[in-house]
């Protein structure tokens, strides 16, 4: 990698983003740090319906938050590892490899991620307009599915430019698990006899 050490290159950033995502999803303390100091990396665009820890307002009376069972998140990780070798990829140190090698591995990851997305989710854009088009948001628009950015002032209807169409999972088809199945084993160790 030829990028100066101050600024990480694209592959490093990708790897960093993935590892931060999994660390945040799996390590509550790390997630809290990200939430509180707002300095740590923001979760990478992940295909997961795994709710990333929302930056809760620092308020004296905490609102009760949903408690998630880690089962489906672990299941998704299992699929991404099995099909796309995502955890192997995220745990690699990219500094010692040439871009050509990284690119070869990225093909495995890309192809596998695409397969997981296609087989287990139905994902549709939130807005059907082309990116760059002018859109008008009427009063009472769904603030959860449309995020306002930039010069956010005044009242609805808001007029602006669509910079990202957004994605919405319209269907999730995760495999069913046996009762005794230990989902925390994302990939079993393999021993060849």
């Amino acid at each position: 990698m030829t990028t100066p050490t101050q600024l990480p290159g694209f592959w490093s950033r990708l790897s960093l983003a993935f590892s931060a995502f999994f660390k945040a999803a799996g390590d509550a303390e790390f997630a809290a740090r990200v939430r509180d100091d707002q300095v740590g990396p923001v979760a990478a665009p992940a295909p997961a319906p795994v709710p990333t820890p929302a930056p809760a307002p620092v308020a004296p009376a905490p609102t009760p938050l949903r408690v998630n069972t880690p089962e489906s998140a672990l299941q998704l990780l299992t699929l991404l590892q099995r099909e796309a070798r995502l955890i192997d990829f995220a745990n690699e140190n990219l500094a010692s490899y040439a871009d050509a090698d990284i690119g070869a591995a990225a093909r495995v990851v890309h192809e596998g991620c695409a397969r997981v997305l296609k087989e287990h989710f139905t994902i549709a854009p939130v807005r059907t307009e082309a990116e760059g088009a002018r859109v008008t948001l009427e009063e009472g628009f769904d603030a959860a599915s449309v995020r306002l950015t930039g010069n956010v002032v005044g009242k609805a209807p808001f007029k602006g430019t669509l910079s990202h169409r957004g994605w919405r999972a319209t269907d999730v088809r995760l495999p069913q698990l046996a009762k005794e199945h230990d989902a925390s084993v994302i990939a079993p160790a393999e021993v060849e006899l």
Partner: protein, 614 residues
């Protein structure tokens, strides 16, 4: 109870599928149909609904899986083997415990198909299963998947059709029917796969098929599946003003399919890698085969692509350093697939055959010549006179034609998703037709290449109830037993043998014929063996005809058949005179029965256990 659904099952060499027609919502040629998602293990403890059930069975070691990891939506009590996706993926790393291609073994005449012989290279301690048992397991899985999804319409009360290759001999047909019975199918009917493909095409056209074919057409069905290639000829007749398809000929059993193509490419790429000093292990070979399939599909779908990269991932957790990158080029795909499996040959080309080595072969009898177009030219030449006696076809066939001229072609099988390959077959056939001054054949559009067989089978279940178009044709072969001719013995020579026709060509389902004149003496309590022959070309022979001579291609010898007269109520050693009857059953199998003068009846066995000497 009356059936609510017509169910079709494609019991494939590499994949099985279940399709259905809702009888209450269907009327005439308008059908409401669907494909059942099959719950199956995709990994230990993980159940997924997939449209296909890979026809693989994995026999795990008792310590291999944690308890409860084999749970399915239905009770799996007492089951130790796994069918489906997990069997396939696990078996790739532990092939000694994987049963694959059970269907090819089921029609392998050289082995005892009821004996526990699979996996053929398993060590002693693995409890093997028979080809029959493996097929039973896949059918059972599909039945349970149905019962799980449709508790209101139990499987055994529905109309069920199971498909088989057109080239299956009576023994393999009977074994498939037996597997269905063992799997709890109350009354399954068998249907030939190329016919199922045509049914699916008829169904898919919503009645428009009558515009695409006309009376006098001869449709060639080219079905290249994962492990087998199968050809059939279907003539379109006009009967009482209605179009009626008649299946007039079927091809031989060719163990050659799409999987062989992927494997051929993988070996090519592996050789390329080996030349650069990279050796692949079995696990990497499988990943490479998988990658080659993807690359092949891309290159065959996009005529402008020149190369396609393939990455074989590392086995350990070091993905980047350990992965091997290579590529497949257009020249390689053209040389190996387009020209290797579908060469543009002349009509006179015939597949090369080598005499087998003297040792008894234990593996599957794979086709020796990979050129599918050569097998096709041999098939069409052998069937040059297939339509000679059909009404309305007399003028279309001439003695000068060196092969039967098809006027339309229907493709089936995932291989033909590539228009390059279907076009190559069309071009080759049309070259042959051009050389004999005939009109070019046209390709029938709108075939569903992956699920056509299952869909067509469901449609057939439906059509049998009078709901739609039916293909006629009856049995696709005539059958003979060998009888010694009454000649004085000559030292050093086998006594010459005559072939006695016991079942003529084209017996309709449900018909029974008695062999006139000839009676056989059976010894009570002792099995009597007959040599058994079939012919796909001798359409004129009637039951009771005796052949003294026949051409080398006309009659194919099959497994011996055997009749045993049970000793009950008789003195062992006595000789009883019996008459032979041939019955084409409604279920699509052929039965030969022996009838004693008192009217007792018992069946002649097609699937005789082979002795070691064979």
């Amino acid at each position: 109870m009356s059936a609510r659904y017509a169910i079709g099952i494609d019991l494939g060499t590499t994949h099985s599928a279940l399709s259905y027609v809702d009888l209450e919502a269907s009327d005439g040629e308008k059908t409401a149909h669907g494909v059942l998602p099959i719950p199956q293990l995709s990994a230990p403890g993980t159940v997924e609904d997939l449209p296909l059930l890979p026809s693989f069975l994995y026999l795990p070691h008792p310590d291999e899986l944690a308890p409860g990891e084999l749970a399915l939506p239905w009770s799996t009590e007492g089951e130790t083997a796994v069918a489906g996706e997990m069997a396939r993926s696990r078996g790739a790393t532990t092939p000694i415990r994987l049963v694959s291609s059970a269907k090819s073994w089921l029609c392998h005449p050289g082995v005892d198909r009821r004996a526990a012989i699979l996996p053929s290279d398993a060590p002693e301690e693995v409890a093997r299963v028979s080809p029959l048992e493996a097929s039973t397991r896949y059918l059972q899985h599909l039945r349970r998947a149905w019962d799980h999804a449709h508790p209101e319409a139990p499987f055994d009360q529905q109309q069920v059709t199971v498909t088989i290759p057109a080239s299956f001999d009576p023994g393999a047909r009977e074994l498939t029917a037996e597997a269905a019975r063992n799997a709890g199918y109350a009354s399954a009917t068998l249907l030939e796969e190329p016919q199922a493909a045509l049914y699916s095409w008829i169904q898919g056209s919503n009645g428009a098929w009558r515009k695409q074919v006309k009376a006098g057409d001869i449709v060639l069905v080219v079905d290249v599946g994962g492990g087998t290639s199968d050809f059939s000829l279907i003539a379109i007749l006009e009967v009482d003003g209605k179009l009626e398809p008649h299946r007039v000929a079927v091809g031989d059993h060719i163990l050659l399919g799409g999987d062989n193509m992927d494997l051929a490419l993988a070996h090519l790429v592996a050789r390329k890698l080996a030349a650069n000093g990279t050796q692949l292990d079995a696990w990497q070979m499988r990943a490479l085969t998988y990658g080659c399939r993807g690359a092949k599909e891309h290159l065959l779908a996009d005529p402008n692509a020149t190369t396609w990269p393939i990455v074989v991932p590392s086995r350990g957790s070091k993905l980047i350093g350990g992965s091997i990158r290579t590529e497949l080029t257009r020249e390689e795909v053209t040389a190996f697939i387009t020209d290797g499996f579908f060469p543009r040959v002349e009509a006179g080309a015939r597949p090369a055959t080598r005499t087998r080595a003297g040792l008894t072969q234990l593996g599957l009898p794979y086709a020796q010549d990979a050129a599918i177009t050569k097998h096709l030219s041999a098939f069409l030449a052998r069937q040059a006179g297939a339509t000679a006696e059909l009404e309305g076809f007399a003028g279309r066939v001439s003695a000068e034609h060196s092969f039967l001229h098809p006027s339309a072609v229907l493709f089936n099988g995932g291989v033909f998703k590539s228009s390059i390959l279907s076009q190559r077959v069309m071009d080759t056939i049309n070259d042959w037709l051009y050389m004999e001054g005939a009109e070019p054949a046209r390709m029938l559009e709108g075939a569903d290449l992956d699920l056509a067989v299952a869909r067509g089978a469901a449609y057939y279940s439906y059509a049998r109830r009078g709901g739609g178009v039916r293909i006629r044709g009856g049995t696709a072969r005539s059958y003979y037993v060998g009888v010694e001719s009454s000649m004085p013995a000559i030292p050093g020579m086998e006594p010459p043998i005559q072939a006695l026709c016991v079942a003529p060509f084209g017996m309709e389902e449900g018909s029974e014929l008695e062999l006139p004149g000839q009676e056989f003496g059976l010894v009570v309590g002792e099995p009597v063996h007959f040599r058994f022959f079939g012919s796909t070309t001798r359409r004129q022979d009637q039951i009771g005809d005796v052949l003294d001579f026949w051409g080398p291609d006309e009659l194919q010898e099959m497994n011996e058949i055997q009749a045993t007269l049970p000793a009950e109520g008789r003195t062992p050693g006595d000789v009883v005179q019996v008459k032979l009857h041939a019955l084409a059953t409604e279920a699509g199998t052929l039965e030969l029965a022996a009838l004693s003068p008192e009217g007792q009846r018992w069946n002649v066995e097609f699937d005789v256990r082979n002795t070691a000497s064979q």
